[in-house]
């Protein structure tokens, strides 16, 4: 079959603007006037002659200056730490948790500076995977917006002043019988919880309320209603044969996406003789990353999802003898019937999840899983997940207590309610009635600006802590750098304020581990040895006692009666984006410039609307619309997003921050005020009224639609049943027309002859395999590459000129249903067929992702056109780029069939026009010292992490052995949570990349042009019947 994929709506519609951009790929208005900053130049009296004089003088001065090299200093340590060898990185095991993602990590440090985050393979939760936010977290350490000292009444103060003041205020509150409230995000740390408990013992009026920006209260409460205990179970997607998700974006943002992505990929990979795949069915309103990976995806309006769950429950109950509930019809009831059958066929090996924050919908989901016997196989109630503990009801109650003047002191800990609460204005008013306001925020954020004291916290790379993401799964957090500023851990602040005897949190933590957690195991016989071992490994895991079947006691009738009934009219739904998520890292330029996997838009959020529905409403891309929910209205640009549900508008939260720092302030609009509070919980969808404004169109910066590869078979695809019959299904041999008839690509060669048999790879031959079946498009690799290779951030303006610098991009293609095969059935002629293939039959397209980096062609077209031989080929199969040789003709980029080369239009270091990562000394500390920072006017591109290859080779040479397979890895492959990318040496017969390369699914991108890339792809396999829905 041959589906037609298109890269964006502009391409599909073939608008004149798009055609112009496409034909003029390097079209741009050079902003030279702006950069020279002189309106004066056009009116000034400087003559040409004067200009030449200046120029001459300038050249002379420059050459004179160049003659005298500046004196450089070499300053060694006074006492060098034993573990540091200059030039050799040290890795420390730690863990990342920001109230949103949990990830067990290894921190790469060079001469005491953390420069890169890598996954910790010893953790059985994340197992070496990372995601974009974890990868970017190292940059947040060097954020110049961070507070450098505590604040008292917005003025810099010393810790002793702040401590004295806060301690007396706390005593006053306690003495007066007023509440001391700690409002924090989820704190899944056993030792932190102990500190909070001891603090509460000292100040008995203390109340600890957990508030997460994006609430999982529904999931917690739903489980409480079902099993009598407020908790979240652990999910095992890798044990599931059928996965049904109701708007749970478990691959990108839901609960523990790194862990779930890894588990999911295990069921999707067809490697090492594995011939079965899970079935994944998604019901959702927006196009999420998870939905785009589903085998079958069904669109429902947000208000219809709960009824769909109820309908599915009824079908399952009917077959398994459960009680049926009353429910409303949804447009996808036919599909639900089929899905129910599939679930029943995979009883005990299926999994149903829902992203809803409605406890009643979660009860129904639990009931379905219960009837299917999924507890103890794909869901484990005994192994509780500690990653979310938000309590919406308590937060709402807190506001009334604050208004009543019952709260004497409030302490904000990783909580920013004035930004992220829907009724933040009310909260602000209530806050003014609180006696003392303290914040642990690392910057003067939206909430901290109203606080009397700010006791800034460390970055996690400066902190000690422990985490227990799941019961029995511990992970230590250790500092990898001395605190950059005069900050302190919140735990330590609480210890000081509660006058606890321990000197610091570190000794408290060590003591707790040596005395309490040590006792949970038997293998290590001394507390010190246990502590050292845990610190080295990062993780400590103990088996949880075997699960007994949980008693499901949920009242399904009651739940079904309380769920939302399908509504009519326009509905608005709030979601989290893969990059920015809840907005805590909005000042991270890597995440802002990270293109959304689905829309490919960076530096903004927007109202996503289905194109056909937008046309009905009269909206066009970039139109600014106003969305009203109750008395809240938000204005923002329209993005035409295929595969959205009808009558649905989606907007991402996490944008529109005002007090986060120069990179994040004012980017996008804040969608949190659109969240509604219903039945004492946050509701992330609602009915809304939409109107067009008269404001000028707002341009969105998208990284796709700039580079077209249309009309060719870029992503190859097949179905599981076809692949089982034929290992080369969907991946037929590429044939080339020659004067002697059609020939196989490998039999035709313009380069090699008998005299010149082509290239020689005597030592290594590096290659990268990308399994499109495992790639979920999450983009961890994009940010990992940013960090590893000192890739510059260029900002929204430059991205709109298609000058983003990412060395690796993830192309996202939508399919349409008209193919060459079915065109005849539809009565289309040849010409009409091509026309129809272009047309938006894309109400619910399939989506594919394809990471594209330099393909390291052995017959590289870029190399032959470089006039200064700046790009050449190595004997190890790498396409090399010598930046200092490059004169910037850009011929290579023009001749690159994959469009992976990036040109430095400007000097991005020390340039105030690009105030992102490399303009201040702090931001420069994240740079990888082994990779040169490119200058203006040179071309750059993926080097296949040659610095890592060289390092790995040298380590092997020093040890007198060959490098082991997997020992050398690129940053992209290493960061991948699903191991979709495999790097290795083709010359090593045992290497994994070699095994994958000969697989029937493997193919080269644009094989017919015979550039012989070093990178290969593997066909995407969908687990569904050809042309059938479910």
């Amino acid at each position: 079959m041959e589906k037609k994929y298109w890269k964006g709506v502009e391409e599909l519609n073939n608008s004149p603007e798009f055609t112009r951009l496409r034909d003029n790929e390097f079209f741009e208005n050079l902003p030279i006037d702006e950069l020279l900053q002189n309106k004066a130049s056009s009116t000034s009296s400087t003559s040409r002659r004067d200009f030449l004089k200046f120029l001459g003088f300038g050249v002379a001065a420059a050459s004179l200056a160049a003659c005298e090299a500046p004196v450089k200093k070499a300053i060694p340590y006074v006492v060098k730490p034993e573990e540091i060898t200059y030039g050799i990185p040290d890795y420390y095991a730690s863990a990342f948790f920001d109230g949103n993602d949990y990830c067990s990590v290894l921190v790469k440090t060079r001469e005491g500076r953390p420069i890169k985050i890598e996954g910790n393979k010893l953790s059985s939760v994340t197992n070496g995977g990372t995601n974009a936010r974890v990868q970017a977290s190292v940059l947040s350490l060097y954020d110049s917006a961070r507070l450098t000292s505590p604040l008292s009444a917005k003025k810099k103060a010393t810790w002793s002043e702040v401590d004295a003041a806060i301690t007396s205020k706390l005593s006053q509150s306690a003495a007066a019988g007023k509440k001391i409230v700690i409002l924090s995000s989820t704190l899944p740390s056993p030792t932190t919880k102990k500190v909070v408990a001891e603090f509460s013992a000292k100040y008995p009026t203390t109340e600890h309320i957990v508030y997460d920006a994006v609430s999982y209260y529904g999931l917690l409460k739903g489980n409480e209603l079902s099993f009598g205990k407020s908790m979240i179970p652990s999910y095992r997607f890798d044990n599931a044969e059928v996965i049904v998700s109701f708007a749970a974006d478990f691959l990108a943002t839901w609960l523990s996406p790194i862990e779930f992505a890894r588990q999911y990929a295990i069921t999707r990979k067809l490697r090492d003789g594995k011939k079965n795949m899970s079935r994944h069915i998604q019901f959702e309103s927006t196009l999420s990353l998870t939905g785009s990976n589903a085998d079958n995806r069904y669109k429902l309006k947000p208000s219809q999802l709960s009824s769909a769950v109820a309908n599915l429950y009824n079908k399952i109950a009917a077959a398994t003898g459960g009680a049926s509930v009353s429910s409303s019809a949804t447009p996808q009831d036919k599909a639900i019937e089929k899905v129910a059958q599939e679930l029943l066929n995979a009883k005990g090996k299926s999994l149903v999840v829902s992203g809803s924050n409605d406890p009643n919908e979660q009860v129904l989901v639990n009931a379905i899983n219960h009837l299917l016997g999924n507890y103890n196989s794909t869901i484990n109630v005994n192994q509780e997940c500690n990653l979310r503990a938000s309590n919406d009801a308590a937060v709402i109650e807190l506001m009334s207590k604050m208004n009543a003047g019952e709260v004497g002191t409030i302490i904000f800990w990783n909580a920013n309610p004035i930004y992220s609460l829907p009724n933040s204005k009310d909260f602000q008013a209530a806050l003014s009635k609180v006696g003392t306001k303290v914040s642990f925020a690392d910057r003067e954020d939206e909430t901290a600006q109203f606080c009397d004291y700010v006791a800034p916290e460390h970055h996690y790379l400066e902190s000690w802590n422990d985490l227990e993401p799941y019961k029995g799964y511990f992970n230590l957090v250790q500092p990898t750098i001395r605190p950059l500023f005069d900050t302190r851990q919140p735990q330590e602040s609480l210890m000081k304020w509660a006058a606890m005897p321990q000197a610091d949190y570190y000794s408290y933590l060590e003591e707790n581990w040596k005395s309490n957690i040590y006792r949970m195991q038997t293998g290590v016989t001394s507390g010190q040895a246990f502590w050292t071992q845990s610190l080295r490994n990062g993780v400590f895991e103990v088996a949880v006692t075997a699960a007994s079947a949980p008693a499901f006691t949920g009242n399904v009738q009651d739940a079904a009666s309380k769920i939302t009934k399908p509504g009519t009219g326009v509905e608005l739904v709030m979601y989290e984006k893969t990059g920015i998520a809840n907005g805590a890292h909005a000042n991270n330029p890597w995440l802002q410039e990270f293109p959304d996997p689905i829309s490919k838009v960076c530096w903004d959020n927007y109202f996503a609307i289905l194109p056909s529905y937008a046309a009905k409403m009269g909206f066009k891309q970039g139109n600014v619309i106003e969305v009203k929910v109750g008395n809240v209205s938000v204005k923002g640009p329209v993005l035409l997003q295929p595969a959205m549900a009808e009558e649905t508008i989606a907007i991402a939260v996490g944008y529109g921050r005002t007090n986060v720092g120069k990179a994040g302030n004012g980017v996008g609009v804040n969608a949190y005020p659109l969240v509604t509070i219903a039945n004492a919980s946050m509701k992330y969808y609602t009915a809304a009224t939409v109107s067009k404004t008269v404001e000028d169109d707002y341009p969105l910066a998208a990284t796709q639609t700039h580079h077209t590869m249309m009309g060719r078979e870029i992503v190859k695809e097949t179905t599981l049943s076809a692949w089982l019959k034929d290992a080369k299904a969907g991946n037929p041999e590429e044939m080339i027309e020659t004067p002697y008839g059609k020939k196989k690509v490998e039999d035709v060669d313009l380069w090699a002859s008998q005299k010149n048999p082509g290239f020689d790879r005597p030592n290594h031959s590096w290659g990268l395999g990308i399994d499109l079946n495992a790639c979920i498009g999450c983009g961890a690799c994009v940010v990992a590459c940013n960090a590893e290779n000192n890739v510059a951030v260029v900002g929204k303006d430059e991205v709109m000129r298609s000058r983003e610098m990412h060395w690796i991009r993830i192309d996202r293609y939508y399919s349409s249903d008209v193919t060459k095969e079915n065109a005849g059935e539809k009565g289309l002629g040849k010409l009409d067929m091509y026309g129809e293939m272009e047309k938006p039959a894309a109400e619910n397209p399939d989506v594919v992702f394809q990471p594209v980096m330099c393909q390291h062609c052995n017959n590289a077209p870029c190399e032959t056109v470089c006039p200064v031989v700046a790009t050449t080929h190595s004997s190890e199969g790498l396409n090399m780029m010598a930046y200092n040789r490059c004169v910037g003709t850009r011929y290579c980029a023009n001749n690159c069939p994959y469009k992976v080369r990036r040109f430095n239009w400007f000097e991005y270091t020390n340039n105030e026009k690009f105030p992102y990562t490399m303009t201040d000394n702090l931001g420069k500390m994240v740079l990888n010292p082994d990779v040169v920072v490119r200058s203006r006017g040179v071309m750059e591109k993926c080097s296949m992490c040659v610095q890592r290859i060289q390092y790995g080779k040298l380590e092997a040479k020093k040890a007198g052995r060959r490098p082991l397979d997997g020992e050398i890895n690129t940053a992209c492959a290493q960061s991948c949570p699903t191991n979709a990318l495999v790097f290795g040496d083709y010359n090593d017969p045992q290497s994994e990349v070699n095994k994958l390369a000969v697989d029937g699914r493997s193919y080269h991108l644009l094989a017919e042009i015979k550039v012989k890339p070093g990178v290969f792809y593997q066909t995407k396999v969908r687990n569904k019947e050809e042309g059938k829905e479910a």
Binding site: S63, A66, C67, A69, V71, K72, K73, A74, I75, P76, Y77, V78, V79, K80, T85, Y86, G87, I88, P762, N763, T872, S874, S875, E876, L878, M880, M881, A882, Y883, N884, R885, D930, V931, V932, V933, S943, V946, Q947, Q950, K953, L954, A956, K957, K958, A959, G960, R961, R962
Partner: protein, 432 residues
């Protein structure tokens, strides 16, 4: 007639004069050569054997002075003890102490029972050492040994190099000789003319003289111009090509650390201090705590006494009197000599550990440098040349085993497997 005769006459005169002009020049060169010979042949005084032996064996624990290092200061030790006593002590101090000699026991107790190792030296060798101590003791004034050491160093340097005064003298001599001979020649010419009855040539003055000279020396001027231009271009090109190359760069360092003393005289392995050279990209400048491994005991150097070593103590905040460290540490700001541009990646371990290249190959005879300078140009051409000529040390390294056999098959068993044959000239080996 007069005009014509002048034209014919003048060249003749110049020919004669050219021949005559050689006389003073030859004379002056001979003189110069003689003077230079005298200077270079000035006898070099043979160093006494005792000094070398002392430096080889004793300097790590003793100085010829009053200050204690590890062992006692040896100034006037020959006056304190007899030669026989010293001979016995040096040959085997432990046995001597055991024999119960009161002086020996006293010294042993005084120096915290740190035993002096036994030295297998012959009697005459020890005596030469004692003789050296004797001369040094008499030489060194009691106060400011550092200044004296520095002073002696300076005079030693002066005597080695020819002073500019000598050159000036030679120049004055040559000029004097030249002018005398010139006058003699002119007088002889006049005599010849008078004998032949020729008229005295008209002496032109001012501009006219210059013009006429120019007119008559067109070829010479052309040749000079061409030579000048060629010379200028070559020099100019060299100067431009030298921009950014700082071969010979020899900056003053914050501490007058002598590689000559440490690596040359004391033969400390380069990698003792530059310990990164075998492990990593950087050979690294040692941190002050590495200096303290020895300088905790060696508190005074032969050249600058305590002056330079005390700078280490200041940096690491060590009190030599009390033997304790303080908290007020300040790093030493060395001046970096070898500055590769950021665009070039160089790894010491690759060259030192894998390639088994000697440090001196690139850094020159550092063990002879009092003050280190950049020995090599560190240009890409220099790198490439070495990669073309140096054979890869494949033997015994498991990484190369297969590659070695493959390459020998390809290039023949006698082939020189140089670095360029395994991709050592590829851009991305050094530029990324």
């Amino acid at each position: 007639m007069s005009e014509m005769s002048k034209k014919i006459l003048l060249p003749q005169t110049s020919k004669q004069s050219n021949m005559l002009r050689y006389v003073p020049r030859c004379l002056s060169f001979t003189l110069l050569a003689f003077i230079l010979n005298v200077i270079t042949l000035s006898p070099s005084i043979a160093q006494p054997n005792g000094e070398a032996l002392f430096k080889q064996n004793c300097t790590s624990c003793h100085v010829v002075g009053d200050n204690k290092v590890v062992g006692p200061g040896l100034k006037n030790v020959h006056k304190k003890q007899s030669d026989e006593w010293l001979l016995t002590w040096i040959k085997n101090s432990q046995a001597f102490i055991k024999s119960g000699d009161p002086d020996a026991v006293k010294i042993y107790e005084e120096f915290n029972k740190i035993a002096m190792p036994a030295f297998a030296l012959k009697d005459d060798e020890i005596k030469s050492i004692i003789a050296y101590i004797k001369t040094e003791s008499d030489k060194a004034p009691v106060v400011a040994p550092a200044a004296a050491a520095a002073g002696s160093g300076a005079t030693a340097e002066e005597s080695k190099e020819t002073s500019p005064l000598v050159y000036l003298l030679v120049l004055v001599l040559i000029i004097g000789l030249y002018s005398i001979l010139n006058r003699v020649q002119k007088g002889l010419e006049r005599v010849v003319r008078q004998r032949d009855g020729e008229a005295e040539p008209v002496v032109l003055k001012g501009k006219a003289r210059t013009k006429s000279w120019i007119r008559e020396h067109k070829k010479l001027i052309a040749i000079l111009l061409i030579v000048g231009m060629v010379y200028g271009s070559v020099k100019g090109w060299d100067a431009l090509a030298g921009i950014g190359i700082s071969q010979g760069y020899q900056p003053d360092q914050p501490i007058k650390f002598s590689h000559k003393l440490h690596a040359g005289t004391n033969k400390i392995d380069c990698r003792y201090c530059h310990s990164g050279a075998e492990k990593a990209k950087h050979a690294n400048i040692p941190s002050a705590n590495v200096c303290m491994n020895c300088h905790k005991y060696i508190q005074s150097g032969p050249q600058y006494g305590t002056e330079e070593i005390s700078k280490i103590y200041k940096a690491i905040d060590w009190d030599p009197a009390k033997g304790v460290y303080g908290m007020n540490q300040k790093p030493i700001q060395w001046v970096r000599i070898h500055n590769l541009p950021d665009l070039a990646y160089f790894n010491h371990a690759q060259h030192v550990k894998v390639g088994k290249v000697e440090c001196q190959t690139c850094h020159g005879p550092v063990q002879e440098m009092e003050q280190v300078k950049q020995f090599s140009p560190l240009t890409m051409g220099w790198c490439i040349n070495c990669h073309r000529n140096t054979e890869v040390k494949m033997e015994g390294n498991g990484y190369y085993t297969k590659l070695h056999t493959d390459l020998l098959k390809k290039y023949g068993p006698q082939a020189k497997l140089t670095v360029d044959k395994i991709g050592g000239l590829e851009c991305a080996r050094c530029h990324y």
